[in-house]
Amino acid sequence: MARAVTPQRKATVTVLAWVVGLVIFFPILWTVLLSFKTEADAIGTPWHVLASSWTTEAYATVQQRSDYLHHFWNSVILSLGSTVIGLIIGIPSAWAMAFVPGKRTKDVLMWMLSTKMMPATGVLVPIYLIGIKTGLLDTRTGLVIVLTLINLPIIIWMLYTYFKEIPGEILEAARMDGASLWNEIRYVLTPMAIPGIASTLLLNVILSWNEAFWTLRLTTTNAAPLTAFIASYSSPEGLFFAKLSAASTLAIAPILILGWFSQKQLVRGLTFGAVK
């Protein structure tokens, strides 16, 4: 039974909600807007910015000057690489714990979660030293390994909560029909598990894409993804608002789009299933 809402009330809420939404979104909107202006126009008053003509100059400059594509590819490789490896290690583990739980399954899950609680700064020194010794500092391989490990607990937890929702009766039915474990996995479980795996993949690509401690500390140029590339704009040089806006827009656009698709999974993934 829906509550009766007067049209006036709905109109008031609508106006209020849109104003609040636009205020929160405004910094992103403004950044995108400035990216299509010339450097001289971008530092003007808001009225000047709105009135001035549009150009894609800044985007061309960003690419020419600092090899944007190199960093973009690094971001793609790091986020996809660490997520895929994480899934390869995580799926069998989450699977086993969800469908064949043992006495210690709960303890193992909680312990995995506890590794996520370890602050990055606490282990920065050894990781840095290992990086120097093995020559993995500022390489994509080194960073993929680190990102995989920091996200693995989230991957396993998310998958676990999804797999848990697959009804056990279906498995029993398949078993009674004489399906082997392999066939059970292939024909019964996999189709039901795909949505959960897809959501986990999406959320982890987002988290790795935006990860900004390890990517900043362990890279200089070779493996530097977009987070580090953008950080290079922290020392101002002449007029650079339009360039910074263009670089920022390019860096956040792909993930904003992915993010909007994964709103619901975000809640589950980031709360380790504590809120669904």
Partner: protein
């Protein structure tokens, strides 16, 4: 239900994840502990030896530590207050029926997907810049002196930037909690003549308590590790005014002081674990139900 064979297989399936996480936890942790008691500076690799508690002593008595510790608390608590209060208000608003719900939701969530270096630099330059920033233009338009946000109020400015990025997270989770509230209970209370205040404090807030706790704990874990935002805005300055613990440890590492940074790392781990214990209990309870 499960056969002995499938149990054995299941154990093998879990092994890779358990082994890599075990290595990831034990090896760096052991190394951090070891180095925290060593005299070891990468600039003077030949001068090595046991340092006893000296690294801890120097790290803890460094005036920068006191400042960093205090700033870390201000940053975490400041952002928590803004995001939790703001999140509750936003969740209440977005839970009402209105036109364009889906689009507004998307607008509100968006900041969460902006990488930290981008959000910090956008706020620093396009908004807080005392000459060309939007706030400066606005101040001039009404005849006020523009404020040098990051120069004069570095920590509050960073709290603001981080709160903007985390508000969507709190909102989204609290909204999810609100939507699972039993509508009939609300209607019944309305029919009994309960005003909005009574409804909020006796029905809505108690229902959201658990989610609020989860938001606070999870955000605390992430907020204790804030680094990129400080790196690209103030570098911890002016002086140590916006230096937090992760930043201080990173600076010590940059100075090649392995022992000192490791001691700082151990302190950071202890702090994070105090929070983690509470969070783990909450999630553990959920696992049983």
């Amino acid at each position: 239900m499960a056969t002995a064979q499938s149990r054995r297989l299941a154990r093998w399936m879990s092994m890779p994840a358990i082994i890599v996480l075990l290595l990831w936890m034990v090896v760096p942790l052991a190394m951090t502990l070891y180095f925290s008691f060593r005299r070891y500076n990468l600039n003077y690799p030949d001068r090595q030896g046991w340092a006893g508690w000296n690294n801890y002593y120097y790290f803890l008595t460094d005036p920068a530590f006191a400042a960093a510790f205090q700033n870390t608390l201000v940053l975490v608590i400041g952002v928590l207050i803004i995001t939790v209060v703001g999140g509750i208000l936003l969740a209440l608003l977005l839970d009402q029926p209105f036109w364009g719900q889906g689009i507004v939701r998307v607008l509100v969530i968006a900041p969460f997907f902006v990488m930290p270096t981008v959000s910090a630099l956008v706020w620093k330059n396009m908004f807080m810049n005392p000459v060309n920033g939007l706030f400066a233009h606005a101040a001039q338009a009404v005849g006020l002196q523009p404020i040098d946000f990051l120069g004069h109020h570095p920590l509050s400015s960073i709290v603001g930037i981080v709160a903007w990025a985390w508000l969507p997270f709190a909102t989204l989770i609290l909204l999810t909690a609100l939507q699972s509230l039993d509508r009939e209970q609300i209607e019944a209370s309305e029919m009994d003549g309960a005003g909005f205040g009574a409804r909020f404090f006796y029905i809505i807030l108690p229902h959201m308590t658990r989610s609020i706790t989860v938001v606070i704990l999870i955000q605390t874990i992430f907020l204790l590790g804030i680094y990129a935002e400080i790196l690209v805005t103030t570098n911890g300055g002016p002086g140590t005014q916006s230096m937090n613990l992760p930043y201080l440890i990173a600076v010590t590492t940059t100075q090649q002081d392995v022992g000192g940074a490791a001691a700082g790392g151990v302190i950071a781990i202890i702090l994070a674990n105090i929070v983690a214990i509470f969070l783990m209990r909450m999630i553990g309870k959920n696992l049983e139900s």
